[in-house]
Structure formats: C-alpha cells, structure tokens
C-alpha cells in the first residue's frame, strides 16, 4: 500500500469534513430545540400571541443555526476545494 503526501492530505480533509459537520451539528441542534421548546411554553401561556411567538422563534432559531451552516460550508470547502 503506497501512499503519497497528497493522498494523506485528501484523506484527512475528507475525514475532517465529516467530523466538522458531525460535531458542528450538535450545538445548533440542541440550541434550536431549546428555543423552540421555550416558544411552545410561551404559547401555552398566551395562545393569542401564537403568531408573534412563532415568528420570534423562527428568527431565533435561524440565528442559532448559523454555526451549523458554517460547519456545512467548511465541510463543503474541505470536500470540494482541498485537493
């Protein structure tokens, strides 16, 4: 089994892409779930404000998801740009 330096770099980049996306998905997943949970709680308290609360929840989740999206971008870069 011969292997060159370029091979090693590519292999490490692909494994790194997997780890980046995998580990990067943990935090946003939990955080977004927490935001959504608190929104459900608030809707339970004041069902008449459901529209406003859902919108706020979606915006909050979108912001907490940013780090997950950065992981996605980094993973895609590692897969398709690193040669």
């Amino acid at each position: 089994m011969e292997f060159s330096g370029a091979d090693l770099i590519r292999a490490a980049a692909l494994l790194g892409a997997g780890l980046a996306m995998g580990l990067g998905a943990i935090g946003p997943g939990v955080g977004e779930g927490y935001a959504a949970g608190k929104a459900c709680e608030a809707i339970g308290r004041r069902p008449e404000e459901a529209g406003l609360l859902t919108r706020t929840m979606l915006v909050g989740q979108a912001v907490s998801e940013s780090t997950g999206i950065y992981s996605l971008v980094v993973a895609l870069l590692l897969m398709f740009v690193v040669q």
Binding site: L52, L58, V59, A62, E65, S66, I69, Y70, V73
Partner: protein, 224 residues
C-alpha cells in the same frame, strides 16, 4: 443513484469566459414565474365581493404578509417592501412545492437560486439602510462598539447571506436526496408519498416562510 450528480447544463463561450447555465433550474424558474403571473392574472381578473377561488388565496397571502410586514417595519416603509416580501414567499413556496410533481425539480435545489435570492435580500437591506439613515450613520454602525470590530461586523453581515441561502438549499436538497435514496432502497409505493408530503409540503412551507421572514428581519434591522 446517478441522478444525484447528473446536471443538465448549457455551456457558452463569451469573450473568453466559459459560462455554464444550469438548464433545469432556468427552465423551472421560468415555469414558476409563468405560473405565478397566470395566478396573478386569474386572481385580479374579476374582483368582487364574492371572490373567485384564486382571489381568496391571493387575499390570504396579501393579508398575512401585510400584517407581518407592518409589524416588522412602520406603515409607510411597509408599503415599499410588502410587494417584495409577499412575492418572495409565493415564489419560494411554489419552488419548494413543485418537486412533488413528476419530472419537475425544485429550483431551490440549486445553490445558485438560493444564493441569488440571498444576495438580493442583502443588497436590498443595505440599500434600505443607507437610504433611511444616510451613508455616514450607516457606515458608523460598522465601527460599533469599538473601531477594530469593523472586520468582524463585515464578516457577520456576509455570513447572513451564506446562512440564509445554505439553509434553504440544504433543506430542499436534503429532502430530495432522502426521497431519492429511500425510493431506491424500498422499491415500494407506500413510504415515498409520505416523505413527499413531509419534505415537499411541510418542510418546503416552513423553509419558505423562514427565508421570507429572515429577509424581512434583515431589512428591519438595517432601517432601525
């Protein structure tokens, strides 16, 4: 599973540039625009007190998004940006839903579409910011709280474009990949329809709404 990597493209050499067009995306986007124009024509053809079905749907959209826009921006500003927000949502909704028909593909499955829409929202938001506050006040915000935070602020603004467009792209692309893979695995009739209902209709609606709301929020952050 070869369909995943197969893209139907047109390439063109113009003045030394090699341009590649994703034909499927362009055709589907034009189809959706045609459908929306036809919908608009039917909805406004005979407006009356007893509305026709198209008018009912159109009024639903207009009313919902008028209220949303009015909440986020103030009244006269909302008049400017409401048509953008409402038509953006209708366009995205139809884009995400069209994949459930055979031989149709979601234009939002292509990163070019979502990135283009994200950039559009970005430029509109910043144009709105400069127009309301003036360039000096707009530029000053980048040096808050201290002047050397400027690069981070700029990166933060650009990251919004990346996050908004990759969110839509990732969800729609992921949904269609899942449907494709599961269809290959089960060869059955029962599971894929449920997946279409979930990813095509439900996730498509939610993500179209999220994209629209975020564009609205980005505008409202800039003008306030």
């Amino acid at each position: 599973m070869e369909e995943l990597t197969k893209v139907w493209t047109w390439s063109l050499d113009v003045a030394g540039f090699h341009l590649v067009f994703n034909a499927t995306t362009i055709v589907m986007t034009l189809t959706i625009m045609g459908l929306l124009i036809a919908f608009g024509w039917f909805a406004t053809r005979q407006t009356g007190l007893v509305p026709n079905p198209f008018q009912v749907v159109a009024e639903l959209f207009v009313e919902t998004f008028w209220n949303l826009t009015k909440d986020a921006l103030d009244e006269d500003m909302a008049k400017t940006y409401f048509p953008l927000i409402c038509s953006l949502f209708m366009f995205l909704l139809l884009c995400n839903w069209i994949g459930i028909f055979p031989y149709m593909e979601e234009p939002t499955k292509d990163l070019n579409t979502t990135l283009g829409l994200g950039l559009m929202g970005f430029f509109i938001a910043h144009y709105a910011g400069i127009k309301t506050k003036g360039f000096a006040a707009y530029a000053k915000e980048y040096f808050q709280p201290v002047f050397f935070m400027m690069p981070l602020n700029v990166i933060g603004e650009l990251a919004k474009v990346i996050s908004i467009s990759f969110r839509l792209y990732g969800n729609i692309m992921g949904g269609s990949i899942i449907i494709l893979v599961v269809s290959h695995l089960v060869y059955g009739l029962l599971i894929p329809p449920f997946l279409y209902a979930f990813f095509g209709l439900f996730v498509g609606t939610v993500q179209a709404f999220v994209f629209t709301m975020l564009t609205l929020v980005y505008i409202s952050v800039q003008v306030k």
